[in-house]
Amino acid sequence: MATYDWLFNMVGLRAWCDTDASTGPMSMAQLLAKTGNSAPEPSYTFAFPSLDELNKACGQIAQTRDVIKGLEDGFLAIRPALRTVLDPITQPLSWMLDGTLYLFTTAPWFLIMAVMLIAVWYATYSLSVVIFNAFCLSFFAFVDHFEPAMQTFAVILVCTIISALLGVPIGIAMSKYNRLQRAIIPVLDLLQTLPTFVYLIPLIFLFPIGESRLYGIAIVLYAIVPVIRLTDLGVRLVDKDVVEAGNAFGMSPAQKLGKVELPLALPNIMAGLNQTIMMSLAMVVIASMVTAPGLGVLVLRGIRNLELGVGLMAGVCIVLLAVMLDRTSKAALSRIDRTKTEM
């Protein structure tokens, strides 16, 4: 006797319910009841009319676990189609990640340090930032964490570049078309609010574990949001008078974009990139659960094996890497600002 028998009796569906009544697997509670040592069911219950509860009254109603099974089957059914589309598109991401990782793990440490410090100098023209970078890199090497740190950095580098390559054009398009902006903003909100673990679940089923694009996609999806938002904002905030001057002198739309809008929006775009870099770093640690290499792996080991020291040391390195990336990208941003406003 179930709580909602009366409902089906009342609307006259009893006969329909009882035709080939469920002989399928029973719930745990029913199995226990069969053995005879379960708690006796209370004579009166007022349970919420959930799927399970309705199923007790009418065998034709699906149980919640059937719905979950259905979701899974549905996803698995569209998986081949999704894969044929996504495989070729995302393959270059795997190649880029693998190539960059190979480069950063096989090149000698002094070469990597030299190239990175020179790059930092040309991006920032700030001696103090270069010195700070040199200190951080030396610290990684000193505590024998240089390789995982460089793996993490390589992943961030590739994902940031991909995010910029995709995000900036999307942001520009959004700034030009209000409709597109209205359509994309909810997607961006979704990407930002979705818990990071939730990204990983469908990706695991879509791509074989061990392929680097698996975590690459998760990181790009998470980190692309700020660069899109701030490019859109930056282009919209460009001084209308200067754009009008471009029009008055007969600029084509492409010239306006290249000579006026993008240069004037650059500080905002750079601020977006800074955020993208920081979010990539956050995600690359979490993505170590799906085989992303680097410092995250050590953190994960610390958690899994309760190796406190390993986790703490990796944590310190991550903090240093984060500060290093943040300082460098902000210094590059302020260099751009400087050439535009003062001097």
């Binding site: 001084d239 009008e244 006026v260 001097m343």
Partner: protein, 350 residues
């Protein structure tokens, strides 16, 4: 007039709003700006504008804020599309131009100077001045040579590698003028070009513009809200109020015969001695003794200085060496008083 005008506007209407074409008939039927706003929620920007701008002249469009003068100048290069009417430049109706032709016209025929300068902040002064040629895709040496030449001409030699933000407002506007001149277009549109500058710098810039104009003979359309500036620069003065032209013509004649209380009010506040020219107040030549010769194009102020303030004198007025009239100092003093004094009109519009 036998000469064909460089730019002419014919029956130009501009109505701001979503359904401007439908509201146009009401505006044409003479509905006022206020009624149009109340009953149709559309703003009347310009109303039946007919202006002809001659080649080589400075046409000044003057009006208070909200009178539609900035809207008007933006119609000349179609930064704003009119609701109705024709805009002829060199006899071509620019409303019929394709996007590409319009772009070419903006590149080659018209240049513009802006109130807020609108320079590119990330480019040097030289690159800013060369902007027009850069857009046209000229070779870098040509761009820089031409830009340098005009920067020197507006007095900014030596500042080529500075950035706009390092310059004062007056200097930035000189860059704006050099940019317009570098494009080598016949027509220059100046939208309140000097309004953001302080008075002394503004006078300097006006002098610079007049000096350049003697040599270059561009067709200049100048927008201002300042009557002194308008009278100083204008060959042809157009006065706008609420989107309609209320008087246009030679500035001296507007000054001597304002057709509307609105203009009288404007006119009553200015320094007439400096603005009025002798030719505007002289009488017919008669026989007699003259204290001396004066040029017809001098202003009254210079004559007062020459005479030392003696009102009993009489001068012969000459133009290009020929006597054309005479001027009694007493007549001059009378002309200094406007038909309606500023104290009487002061309360009407302020």
């Amino acid at each position: 007039m036998t000469q064909t005008p460089k730019v002419s506007l014919r029956g130009l209407y501009k109505i701001f709003g979503s359904d401007d074409k439908a509201v146009l008939q009401h505006a044409k039927a003479g509905m006022s700006k206020e009624n149009l706003l109340v009953s149709h929620q559309h703003v009347l920007g310009l109303k039946d504008i007919n202006v002809e701008m001659q080649a080589g002249e400075i046409t000044v469009v003057m009006g208070l804020s909200g009178s539609g003068k900035s809207t008007l100048i933006r119609h000349l290069n179609r930064l704003i599309e009119p609701t109705d009417g024709e805009i002829l430049v060199d006899g071509v109706d620019i409303m019929k131009l394709s996007t590409l032709d319009l772009r070419h016209m903006r590149q080659n025929k018209m240049s513009m100077v802006f109130q807020k300068f609108a320079l590119l902040p990330h480019r040097t002064v030289l690159q800013n001045a060369a902007m027009a040629l850069n857009i046209q895709g000229a070779a870098t040496e040509d761009q820089e040579g031409e830009a340098k030449k005009w920067l020197d001409r507006v007095g900014l030699g030596g500042f080529e590698n500075h950035y706009p933000s390092q310059l004062s407002g007056g200097m930035q506007q000189r860059v704006g003028i050099a940019r317009a001149l570098t494009s080598n277009s016949d027509i220059m549109l100046m939208d309140e070009a000097f309004s953001a500058l302080d008075p002394l710098i503004r006078t300097d810039m006006q002098d610079l513009l007049l000096e350049l104009q003697v040599e270059l003979k561009k067709t200049i359309v100048f927008i201002t809200h300042d009557l002194d500036e308008a009278l100083k620069l204008a060959d042809h003065l157009v006065i706008l109020k609420d989107g309609a032209v209320i008087q246009q013509g030679e500035p001296q004649s507007i000054l001597m015969a304002p057709s509307d209380p609105y203009i009288e009010d404007f006119v009553s506040d200015i320094n007439r001695a400096r603005v009025l020219r002798i030719r505007s107040v002289m009488q017919e030549l008669t026989e007699g003794k003259f204290a001396g010769d004066v040029d017809a194009n001098d202003n009254l102020e210079s004559l007062i200085a020459t005479s030392g303030g003696d009102t009993s004198l009489r001068y012969r007025v000459v133009e290009n060496g020929k006597p054309v009239g005479e001027l009694d100092m007493r007549e001059l003093v009378k002309a200094l008083v406007p038909r309606i004094s500023s104290s009487e009109t002061g309360t009407r519009y302020h």
